[in-house]
Symmetry: C2
Subunit: 355 residues, 2 copies
């Protein structure tokens, strides 16, 4: 199963889900940070604590299967190549943080790829649950099911006063981070994105790029998530974030309408040029590919271009990432030039299939 996770650009949950027609929200995600009672936090780097957590988690896959009937793989990071670990990061199954060290670090992944539990990241475990489109509740329900199953076997570090205890104080309380990944090209094109992002940040939410901080703007993909984990329930956090996201969708829709109304000729040209370059270029950097793919996806969403599948963009966003690309090419070491040439080829082939 690990092979299919590493080789397929999209997990099952991403192609099954009903995407909204406008394709603004790509995915929803819940992450629960949990630590076990009586074991030193991971960041104290105690070998026996790391090992203990690692051993405890070996039992979890079969435990979860009993609960939901799905199969789970237990993947030790030290059994993966460097490139395979980076592919997990590129697919958002693990954090960049987790793969920095490999001893006793692992990830438990469900066969549909919708659940990934990181072991010995910043906290003992981080339960991640994903859903296609805007569906935080669905993701949350599955996370809770898994959380309950683990808690039925092991004791979490929990304080009546503070809630779940975590390695970093910013997660104490619910230990929950709810986040939504959005494609906001029209807000970017019309220059309204900065204002919108600022107002969301002022409300106490964080807005980051496709790969966290520093990747802002890449493919016009943004992650919006809650910051507060104390003094608010999980349900209220999700309800509030849903409201924020619905507002953001409306802003993006308005921006799309304004493009269609006021700049339709220039925009049509932009979309077709992006398509022309993607369909013909012999070299593409990762950032350029994402930027052009974003234009093409917006062109599809706005009825200018027509593609067979609605997962075109989501798929290529993953495929064009450097490590996934190397894995895809079956080559462990590619120069940047080779990668740019291979990326261009993969994109050309994909466009030919989608036509």
């Amino acid at each position: 199963m690990i092979d299919s996770i590493l080789d397929q650009p999209l997990s099952q949950w991403q192609t099954e889900g009903t995407l909204d027609k406008e394709h603004i929200v790509l995915s929803s995600r819940i992450r629960l940070a949990r630590n076990f009672k009586g074991i030193a936090f991971t960041n104290r780097d105690k070998e026996d604590a790391l090992e203990k957590v690692d051993t405890m988690m070996r039992r979890v896959p079969s435990l979860l299967t009993k609960v939901d009937g799905k199969s789970y793989s237990d993947i030790s990071l030290d059994k993966l190549s460097g490139i395979e670990r980076e592919v997990l990061v590129e697919k958002h199954l693990v954090s960049p943080n987790l793969v920095e060290k490999v001893n006793h670090r692992s990830v438990i992944i469900s066969d549909d790829g919708a659940v990934a539990i990181m072991v010995n990241e910043e906290d003992h475990i981080r339960i991640q649950s994903m859903a296609a489109g805007l569906n935080l509740t669905k993701a949350y329900e599955r996370a809770v099911q898994i959380d309950d199953a683990i808690e039925s076997t092991y004791d979490y570090a929990f304080s009546e006063k503070f809630g779940y205890l975590t390695a970093c104080p910013t997660n104490v309380g619910t230990g929950m981070r709810a986040s939504v990944m959005l494609h906001l090209p029209a807000l970017a094109i019309t220059g309204k994105l900065n204002r919108v992002v600022r107002s969301i940040i002022q409300l106490g939410y964080s807005v980051r790029g496709l790969y966290g901080e520093g990747s802002e703007g890449l493919g016009n993909i943004y992650q919006v998530s809650n910051q507060v984990t104390m003094g608010i329930s999980e349900e209220d956090t999700i309800a509030q974030l849903n409201k924020i996201i619905e507002g953001l969708i409306k802003e993006e829709e308005k921006a799309r309408q304004s493009i269609a109304r006021e700049h339709s000729d220039a925009f049509e040209d932009r979309v077709w040029r992006a398509y022309g370059v993607l369909a013909h270029a012999r070299k593409l950097s990762g950032a350029e590919a994402l930027s052009l793919l974003s234009d093409v996806q917006l062109g599809i969403d706005m009825g200018i271009l027509h593609m067979k599948s609605n997962a075109f963009f989501d798929k290529l966003v993953v495929i064009t990432r450097p490590n996934f690309l190397s894995k895809y090419a079956g080559q462990d070491s590619m120069t940047a030039d080779e990668r740019d040439a291979y990326r261009a080829k993969v994109v050309r082939d994909a466009l030919n299939i989608e036509q």
Copy 2:
């Protein structure tokens, strides 16, 4: 016939000629400046002189037909619309200078488009003769044939000491300007063009862009012509210019080889991107179209792209000019936006046919 001249991008002589395989030299041209004895120069702007020359030239078409069996059209500029006059300029059949005034101005054009005699431009007449590829001798021989035919009927202003007398002293002597139009993209890409152009200018030749001074760089097309018209025979002028051009061809060939040797990946990418944009853009400015067409033509020349006809570039260079384009669209007044959209459409259609 005037309609076919205005509507067809290429004249017969341009598609008949054997183009060199590398497509570096687009065309050769001879221009003879002549004035009639006893009539005030055109620039003195005397109505009776202008009218006299105009009337004399009415007889010339039938005179020339007797000599070479071809038919000639006599086109009075005041019978053409502004846009039609500009199309003649864009097709290099007349100079921008000629169309500034229309009274008694005309052009006599042979049915194959290879000969165009401007009447009442700077001089009383300017005999222009064109040939495809590098073939100054062929163009010169036809110019002489026409020159002799006219001289057999009318007396030219000629001085034993100075040669042919012309309105501007820089043309006195042979009155001949021999010029060659070249496509030099590889010299431009490799940054060697400026040095090469400087050395040609130092030898006393002029190097200008596709539409004379100020159009340098447009589509990487350059015209090289002699400056000196006194103290040298026509044959020697042509022989010297031929040498210059042969040297220039060698430099361009070397630059193409260096691109193929050292930058083939980057170049292949550049060519395909240019093709991708030309084949898909919905708006193209004239300058961008020429620049991309230049890349595509070099890609064809270097075996990266394959097109059916070898006149692809020459044809589109004319079609994409603003006035030709308006004429082509059958619309006398187009906004710049409409023209850019129509230009993109015409280029897309042409690429589809040529594929």
